[in-house]
Symmetry: C2
Subunit: 243 residues, 2 copies
DNA sequence: GCACGCAAAATTGTTAACAATATTATTGTC
DNA sequence: GACAATAATATTGTTAACAATTTTGCGTGC
């Protein structure tokens, strides 16, 4: 499916290191759910697919495992992560803890230029929604939060939040409700209003509400979705078929 | 100096995976400044020292680089990180942003058992100070913050803060003032009082003050210490010696 | 004496082969 | 026909050798 092709065109000047390219490709596949949670990742298959050595794939695995996007099991291999309900709750709780602080800082250091930057981004979000581009909308929604993190001017926070947002994307892809009631763009509008207000407490409260809302829109009651769990799909216990 | 020896005694049951052992040993060496900032880490030397293959060392490097404790330069190798003054400031700023939230959460979820856990830890900190064990004091001081993170019950926060505290330890080791006025144990006492008070705002304010105090005790005015920067050590510009 | 360039050494990056482990298929037994 | 033991296969873990790159040392010319 997602072979490496010849490529070299869409990545600009072609100076990009192949290792980052592979990481990015796998990332995209995970967030697109072309690679489903629980799926086994065989080193040699991937190596052949990308036309690199196993060692390179192994290094990429380490990176993905560090971001909690795959699980590395000794002697067994790599598997797409299957964030549990509890993990999902903890991730959004952690984000609230951090992004409250982000909102506070951004609210108290607002400038006209920064406000324009945010408005600019929101316009793109609205456009994606208008065009019905669900995938772009999800990505832009994440990048909105990343933009706020960047406005704090703190690279440490920015980098950590970037990873946490990626992890959130996997969680959302895994637990989102069948009919995506994705009204988060209007929540982002409200967030901008709060940030422009300049009151750190109000901004933090609005951020908390927003992140809780995202979490609450998820279908976090199912015991464990994903993978090829036919038993849950067909609502019966497995039995052997007649040969 | 820090050879692997035969070892096997101090790591308990001996079931510990060697990869984690190597990471831990290198970590200790970095925080002890047996490995100085800027120092080159040659793969083969380390491989022979620890009696493992270069591949294993390479994997360990990736982990350390992810924690920002070493720098990985393509085709050049690995170097002990030299956090800049700006990085130091950002790390403590990030910690304040996060640990304010931690303090808030701990203050509002305090129980007698948890209070005892904290008091228990403080007793160990005091003991280390009393014994003049500087190294133990620094480690325990970091673990105090980690304990609070653990009390939030959020593994995401705990793991991130663990890395940030390690990074802080490197920064402190690099920038601490010659005469270590390490009065942070009394600040931890005050922090406990604030947490017991139950007021989240008070607890957060006390945490902010404490982290700012640590930062302010650092000698963050020097342009760039570490390495073999003879020019700054001898206060003169380099010149060639007569052969 | 100093700068430049070239060659040698050291070091990292990569590949391929081998060993250890886990998974799957097969066979035999009840 | 179901279950257990065993062999065959597939996959991961590890090692060693080779290629590419950088660093170092040396010599030459100015």
């Amino acid at each position: 499916m997602a072979k490496a092709e010849d490529s070299g065109a869409y990545k600009g000047s072609g100076k990009l290191r192949p290792e980052e390219m592979i990481y990015q490709e796998m990332l995209d596949a995970i967030l697109d759910r072309r690679l489903e949670p629980g799926m086994k990742l065989v080193e040699e298959d991937l190596a052949k697919t990308f036309g690199v050595s196993r060692a390179r794939i192994r290094a990429t695995f380490l990176q993905l495992a560090h971001d909690k996007l795959i699980n590395l099991v000794p002697n067994r291999g790599a598997f797409i992560a299957e964030p549990t309900i509890n993990e999902a709750i903890e991730v959004f709780s952690a984000r609230r803890m951090i992004e409250d602080g982000v909102a506070r800082k951004v609210a108290t250091s607002m400038t006209p230029e920064r406000a324009d930057q945010i408005r600019n981004h929101l316009a793109r979000e609205h456009a994606a929604h208008h065009d019905g581009d669900h995938r772009a909308a999800i990505i832009l929604s994440g990048e909105f939060h990343l933009l706020l993190a960047r406005l704090t001017g703190n690279l440490v926070i920015e980098e950590f939040l970037e990873r946490l947002i990626l992890r959130s994307s996997l969680i959302i892809a895994m637990y989102e409700s069948p009919q995506p009631v994705d009204c988060s763009h209007s929540e982002h509008d409200r967030l901008l209003d709060a940030l422009l207000g300049g009151d750190p407490d109000v901004a933090a409260a609005e951020m908390s509400r927003h992140l809780d809302a995202i979490r609450d829109r998820l279908q976090l009651q199912r015991p464990k979705p994903g993978k090829t769990d036919f038993a849950s799909i067909f609502g019966r216990t497995p039995r052997s078929e007649a040969s």
